[in-house]
């Protein structure tokens, strides 16, 4: 691991005292003569300048002189039928002195949490090391490993990041559809292509976690979201690094076997070249020596891999190696939109990525440039689509994908206000994932229209030239 796991934030005594003063009452705690803690609500006054806090001695209870006591402030806001929110608490410790009816102490140390300052999710991530220590201690106590658990289904979903397979399905099925429009379609190899490409992405997803863990990027990330920061199954102790490495190898082996089978069935120099480049880009994404994402080439690698390579690869399997401009042009908007998924997902990860030496675009560029970069790339994807139709390379129904422009606008507008708020950005990231998926599905729908129209009304012109 590159560096120790992040810890929970630390408060200094004066900061703790200032926070304590904001609570309407405090809970005094001390250890009684019988060894049991005693806790009682008091109303303390604080002097931030001197760091001294004082309160009336509680009646009937003896606060020990010259012993450490603590004052805690705690707050929640009840939400009937739900529970509560606005959680915060702070504790300040000091050595008590009694003077007549008053107790005073100088704040020596403090500890606390305020979810308006550190979100619950970040606080939890910062506490993962404590969970590890807990399970390590329990394992040592029992003499057998004790690990956190998830049901197999949830664990498989989380480990493989299965829902992100849409990034593969969109270009691969589109490539097959374009080939079909041109009269080349074989069901068996089409299914094998989809499955093989899915294995490549699963291998990539799992290998990405392995290498990001080895290189410290995932451990340093305390603001992961469902779209960023990796699956975290290694960090949580749900799956070991070794198991993940084995799983990635299995996925790549399955993909390689299917690739070889496709070469045997529909082999062509184009397919061989696309397959070899695809494997290199996939494995080299995070793995040394290439480490493309660490060198600032991650966005380009993803664009090429989940754009032209996937789409053209699926296309040439069907056409037995014949190439044309149509699948290449169709792959470009998809390439840009899938790269934009990564691009936006990298925004909340940028600090931990920087610490781990990952030179992503959001790490290297200022906020305004990143936001404008998103806008430019989104505009470019639609411009290519319209241009492709205008020059007669893409069919007119492909313009259906323009219906996703409102989604792109939502992402574009959401980036700036949520740039420094990972959890606010989650909704934006969700819309961005949908943008790629829906644009791809609408492009597919366009090709479906072309296929159906070609079957029932072949004389209707669906290309401008």
């Amino acid at each position: 691991m590159a560096e120790p796991l992040p810890r929970t934030p630390v408060l200094d005594a004066s900061e703790g005292l200032a926070k304590l003063a904001t609570y309407p009452f405090q809970i005094l705690a001390f250890i009684g003569p019988d060894g049991y803690p005693v806790s009682v609500a008091v109303e303390a006054t604080t002097d931030p300048a001197s760091g001294v806090v004082s309160f009336g001695a509680p009646a009937g209870l003896t606060v020990p002189a010259d012993a450490d006591v603590s004052l805690t402030g705690s707050h929640i806001r009840p939400q009937p039928g739900y529970g509560y929110d606005e959680r915060r608490h702070v504790t300040v410790w000091g050595r008590a002195a009694t003077d007549g009816g008053r107790v005073t102490f100088r704040a020596a140390r403090a500890w606390g949490w305020d979810e308006s300052e550190v979100s619950f999710f970040e606080y939890s991530e910062r506490s993962v090391a404590q969970s590890r220590r807990y399970f390590d201690a329990l394992s040592a106590e029992r003499g057998t490993p004790v690990k956190p658990r998830l049901s197999f289904g949830w664990l498989a979903l989380r480990t493989t990041r299965l829902p992100f397979l849409t990034a593969t399905f969109v270009p691969v099925i589109l490539g097959i559809a374009i080939a079909a429009r041109q009269g080349a379609f074989d069901l068996v190899t089409a299914v094998l292509t989809v499955v093989g490409a899915a294995f490549v992405q699963l291998g990539l997803n799992v290998a990405n976690d392995v290498f990001d863990t080895v290189q410290g990027a995932d451990d340093a990330n305390v603001t992961p979201t469902q779209f960023s920061g990796g699956s975290r199954v290694i960090q949580y102790g749900l799956v070991s690094l070794r198991q993940m490495a084995g799983l990635a190898t299995l996925f790549y082996l399955a993909a390689a076997l299917i690739g070889l089978l496709l070469l045997a069935l529909r082999g062509s120099p184009a397919l061989l070249a696309i397959g070899v480049i695809g494997f290199i880009v996939s494995i080299g994404y995070t793995a040394p020596p290439l480490k493309l994402v660490y060198r600032g080439l991650g966005e380009i690698a993803v664009a090429i891999g989940f754009g032209p390579l996937m789409l053209l690869g699926a296309y040439v399997v069907q056409t037995r190696g014949a190439l044309s401009w149509e699948p290449f042009v169709a792959s470009l908007p998809i390439a840009l939109l899938v790269a934009l998924i990564l691009y936006v997902n990298e925004i909340p990860d940028r600090r931990s990525d920087a610490r781990a030496g990952k030179r992503t675009l959001p790490v290297r560029l200022p906020k305004a440039t990143v936001v404008n970069g998103y806008r430019a790339a989104a505009v470019a994807s639609y411009a290519i689509l319209v241009g492709g139709v205008a020059v007669g390379v893409l069919p007119i129904p492909a313009l259906l994908a323009l219906l996703t422009i409102p989604l792109a606008l939502r992402v574009s507008r959401g980036l700036e206000p949520n740039y420094d708020n990972p959890y606010g950005l989650m909704a934006v990231m969700g819309v961005n994932v949908k943008l790629h998926l829906y644009a791809g599905l609408l492009l597919l729908a366009g090709y479906l229209v072309v296929l159906i129209a070609g079957a029932i009304a072949p004389s209707v012109p669906l290309f401008l030239r």
Binding site: A29, Y36, P37, V40, T72, G81, Q130, S131
Partner: protein
């Protein structure tokens, strides 16, 4: 069976949050806000393994205190109570053992069931140990004012004493 005064039990039943104070390895008090769950005999609290330092303290020294102090957390009531007792960490099955107190928890925090269904999103938060507290003594302030001595009740006996 331990007994607590009826007003103290009512506070425990109502409280959305209470303060658990434990003794750390250096003999200092450490206070944690937690939701108290009372089954009529013992007080239960749960702790995620993420925030399990308190469990280490309890295992080393089981003497604890639970206070109910916040009027906002008890529907506006102004009385207050502290229960001292002996705590036991129940961690035979951190994955699901704590779920036996889920029905009491759900009454106070209905959202917990929905959160539990989304366990995949926060797996370590739901790896939890149960803290079982056997009350030994309670202190009760009928008007919540610490300037007035509390009514002290010893749970193991039936006697009540002025502090």
């Amino acid at each position: 069976m331990t007994t607590l005064p009826e007003p103290v039990e009512r506070l425990l039943d109502a409280a959305l949050v209470g303060e658990l104070t434990v003794v750390d390895g250096t003999g200092h008090p450490v206070t944690y806000p937690l939701i108290p769950l009372y089954d009529g005999e013992r007080i239960y609290m749960t702790s995620s393994t993420l925030f399990s330092k308190k469990l280490e303290h309890i295992k080393a020294n089981p003497r604890v205190a639970v206070s109910i102090t916040d009027p906002v957390a008890v529907g506006g009531r102004t009385d207050r109570a502290t229960i001292q007792g002996d705590a036991r960490v129940m961690e035979e099955d951190p994955h699901g053992g704590w779920e036996r107190i889920l029905p009491i928890w759900e009454k106070k925090e209905p959202a917990i069931v929905a959160f539990l269904k989304a366990r995949v999103a926060l797996p370590l938060f739901f790896e939890r140990s149960l803290i079982e507290i056997t009350p030994r003594r309670s202190l009760y302030w009928s008007d919540g004012d610490a300037a007035v001595a509390p009514l002290v009740a010893v749970a193991e006996g039936n006697g009540k004493e002025a502090a």
